[in-house]
């Protein structure tokens, strides 16, 4: 193994392990501020460090600290303490590990060697995700069972029934995709989506498999136990479902597991249906060949974006009531300064790429980092859709959920396979 191999491997593993955890903070923040805005209130915006509130992100630190210092109770009636402790570990670990097969950039060619940009450079791809995501429900069932309590038990049972009825449409939706893409390797799937349909429409999964996309997204919502399918928690019916008996850091593990699962399934949805790391109309080869053009474009776009962002900060980061020497304005001034310093740094880095020019390793690394950015932006938007749906829809009733799964999604996904294979056979 050369030094380069080691560096790339460490980068891949760190990215796949830490990005979901870092996104945790972003997602919790997005959920709380997002739901605040949707309900015409402001959400948490008071917690601060030296007056810096970072639009409410500091609240996450406070919450995390609180959970870390809370007493970790194991109720006296719990018979199998090992399983009780194991359950949150399963949920959290599985959620993180299932992200490992998702590519966050195109295969990177350095010194003549090809590196797949996935946490684990495996060809299993979507099969890895399907296998592991089905396993995460064991954590929930185990939690419900070992809590030794009727509500938790009901939550666990619901999780079991739900996973059976949603795993099948999920798998069948993937089958129709595999017929189109012809590979289970997620990097291959995303490379396929880099093509153009009729020469101008990006050939994303949502365009060529709209029905499959709907089925997969609905099933993925159920898989991640998010509203409208969060019967497992169902706080209005069964207290808090499977995590009724959990407190402190063990509860936090479930909580983080839920958000990481949301991140992972967003990443998979983006990879399968929204072009993954692809930037529309800009293939990897194009970016490597025309590095100078891309860099100049970026050097122009970044300050323009920063200008509007700074304007937005200035407009919104102020107190909306009479206040002497408004500290929010001072805060906003600092944010804007940091923003422009960041812009200058980005411009300097881009200048380096401008000098380095096209074709070489620098151009490939630039293309990869742009694809990582594109991937993360898309995933953030998909996570916002999760939040957005959560604060729009009510929860499905248990029988409605089963009915939707077995009587609607299952026949539809079978129909989708039929149509897809007919079209594929007719075209080939």
């Amino acid at each position: 193994m050369s030094l380069l191999d080691t560096v790339v491997t460490i980068f891949r593993v760190l990215f796949a392990a830490f990005i979901p955890v870092c996104f945790l903070a972003v997602l919790v923040w997005m959920e709380r501020r997002g739901c605040g805005f949707i309900q015409d209130r402001s959400g948490p915006n008071r917690a601060n460090i030296f007056g810096f509130r970072l639009a409410g992100i500091v609240q996450n630190l406070a919450d995390g600290l609180k959970l870390a210092f809370k007493e970790d109770v194991i109720p006296g009636h719990v018979k199998y303490k090992f399983y009780f402790v194991l359950a949150p570990v399963i949920v959290f670990t599985i959620a993180i590990v299932s992200f490992a097969a998702v590519p966050f950039a195109d295969a990177l060619i350095l010194e003549g060697k090809t590196y797949l940009m996935q946490g684990i450079p495996t060809d299993l791809g979507i099969l890895w995700f399907l296998a592991l995501v089905g396993f995460s429900v064991y954590g929930i069932i185990l939690a419900g069972w070992s809590s030794h309590n009727k509500y938790s038990m009901l939550g666990g049972l619901r999780a079991a029934a739900q996973v059976i009825s949603y795993e099948i449409p999920l798998g069948l939706a993937v089958i129709s995709l595999l017929i189109v893409y012809g590979t289970v390797n997620l990097t291959g799937i995303v490379q396929y989506q880099g093509q153009l349909l009729f020469g101008f429409i990006p050939m994303w999964g949502i365009v060529i498999q709209p029905l499959g996309a709907v089925i997969f997204i609905v099933a993925a919502f159920a898989e991640a136990n998010r509203i409208p399918f969060d019967l497992v928690e169902g706080e209005s019916e069964i207290v808090a479902g499977f995590h009724t008996e959990y407190s402190g850091m063990k509860f936090a593990m479930f909580f983080m597991g839920e958000y990481v699962a949301m991140f992972t399934s967003s990443a998979v949805i983006v990879t399968l249906f929204f072009g993954g790391f692809q930037i529309p109309w800009m293939s990897t080869a194009f970016m490597v060949e025309h590095t100078r053009l891309v860099v100049v474009l970026l050097m122009l776009l970044v300050p323009v974006f920063a200008y509007f962002f700074a304007g937005w900060i200035r407009k919104n980061n102020r107190s909306h009531f009479p206040r002497e020497n408004d500290p929010d304005l001072v805060e906003a001034k600092w944010y804007i300064r940091v923003l422009w310093v960041a812009v200058i740094l980005i411009e300097l880095v881009l200048l380096f790429f401008l000098i380095a020019g096209a074709g070489g390793a620098a151009a490939r690394i630039l293309a990869a980092s742009l694809q990582i950015t594109s991937f993360l932006v898309k995933v953030t938007f998909m996570c916002f859709v999760y939040v957005w749906v959560r604060w729009t829809l009510p929860r499905f009733r248990y029988d409605q959920l089963q009915k939707l799964g077995w009587q609607t999604l299952l026949p539809l996904s079978l129909l989708n396979i039929l149509i897809t294979s007919a079209v594929v056979v007719a075209l080939s």
Binding site: F37, Q39, N316
Partner: protein, 174 residues
């Protein structure tokens, strides 16, 4: 006597609604409208910036209690125990004593209200024949570090002033 029966029209049976997704997208459009409006300009949020901006308290608001006085400064309360008897939370404890002047016979020498027990129903105010106890101080936040500090006595009750005039109080509005 017959019961009025109101037939409620059941919704959700049209094919368009049976598909779910169309209605889901409609709902999402509504929530996104709210989101983007508040996201682009957060001064449009329907919120009060409490503690900095305090709520408007009307004379009808049942806040912390106070005991009123006659014009000459003497205590109106005659220790008749009406409020204590009427109190559903049993939070008032009165001890009566000799009055000494020629107004009436009795006056309270102890008048304790346990504010942690009080449910702010206002029955004491309604029961009072002398208009001696009122809940018009406009105090709506009570904080303390010990439970005992929430049992307030005669002096505290007599010391509090109302921010409203008598006319406002009787009219019930400003």
């Amino acid at each position: 006597m017959s019961i009025d029966i109101k037939t409620i029209e059941r919704k959700g049976d049209t094919p368009q609604e049976r598909v779910y997704l169309i209605e889901v997208f409609k709902g999402m459009a509504v929530t996104f409208g709210h989101f983007i409006r508040n996201f682009l300009d957060n001064s449009k949020l329907y919120i009060r910036h409490y503690p900095e901006v305090e709520p408007e308290i009307t004379p009808r608001w049942r806040g912390r209690h106070r005991l009123t006085r006659h014009e000459d400064g003497t205590v109106k309360c005659v220790a008749c125990f009406m409020c204590q008897t009427n109190c559903p939370a049993k939070c008032i404890m009165i001890e009566a004593g000799e009055r000494g002047d020629d107004r009436t016979e009795k006056l309270p020498i102890r008048f304790d209200i346990d504010l942690l027990e009080c449910i702010y129903c206002g029955y004491c105010v309604e029961a009072c024949p002398m208009d001696a106890i009122r809940m018009d101080t406009g105090i709506y936040t009570l904080t303390g570090t010990a439970r005992e500090s929430f049992v307030i006595g005669l002096e505290e009750l007599l010391r509090s002033e109302s921010p409203f005039t008598d006319e406002e109080y009787k009219k019930g509005s400003k």
